[in-house]
Symmetry: C2
Subunit: 154 residues, 2 copies
């Protein structure tokens, strides 16, 4: 399923190939995407803020994509709003890890999606470097069963 997610990202959003974004792992409680420093570097040798944002926002999008796949629900996923805080510069390949919501929150999300055809989910993504949190990202995503609900594709 991770290969399918990575293929979906590269096919649906071609610039993710140039950004070098790959799916690193999907564990019990989180999805991790990776992006290489060299493709996303700035002249100070650290990662470009826009690339950091892209990998963070797609970690959340990818997590919902996997959760919907597991639940066998076909829905569109868009991002409605987000905030990001850059605490430390990133000097290596980056790994953006998006944490699963609690089972109760996830259940509520699926109930709402099935009942209303649309549901929101707030997700947190972090990028750590050397044991420290370098980047904190919060995104509000919307899944919808119908086309007319869509705000913004990822």
């Amino acid at each position: 399923m991770l290969e399918e997610l990575e293929r979906t990202l590269h096919e649906d959003i071609p610039i993710t190939t140039q950004l070098g974004i790959t799916v690193l792992r999907y564990e019990a409680d989180a999805l991790a995407l990776k992006a290489p420093l060299d493709a996303n570097i700035n002249h100070k040798g650290t990662a470009f803020a826009g690339s950091i944002y892209a990998v963070a926002t797609l970690a959340g999008w990818g997590l919902i994509w996997l959760l919907l796949k597991e639940a066998e629900i076909a829905a569109r996923i868009v991002i409605q709003e987000s905030s990001i805080r850059y605490r430390l510069p990133i000097t290596r390949d980056m790994v953006a890890t998006c944490t699963k919501p609690s089972p109760a929150r996830l259940e509520q999300f699926f109930v709402m999606l099935r009942r209303k055809g649309i549901a929101r989910l707030e997700l947190q993504t972090q990028i750590k470097e050397g044991g420290q949190t370098a980047v904190e990202f919060n995104g509000r995503y919307v899944a919808s069963l119908h086309k007319e609900h869509v705000y913004q594709e990822p």
Copy 2:
């Protein structure tokens, strides 16, 4: 000066070339950057959220770069935090317009930068399409005269 800004973006952050980001215009009260839809498209034919963010964040960065150039101050500019709201999907080439702060706020910024060696500036950037605001971006940037103050390069 706009050619120099564009060259700086492309040389300092190579991925901006792939994103197709160019400097469109610098008027009395705003800097506008442009990015083509085709390089940043997703499978729904709208612009990728990460590309939208990249051009918006660089519009603010570029505006401060120009303001510092005009004031003949050599400083590093980084982004500390930001938020973005996607109100409508973008279906054409995008133009991100960052509005200058008020003269009073700008004066305060320069005074602080000269006195403390570091100063923050909050900037708003919008992307409009067909007369409507499609994207609202708020960024908090930090300019610093000294290396040790740096948080995150753009």
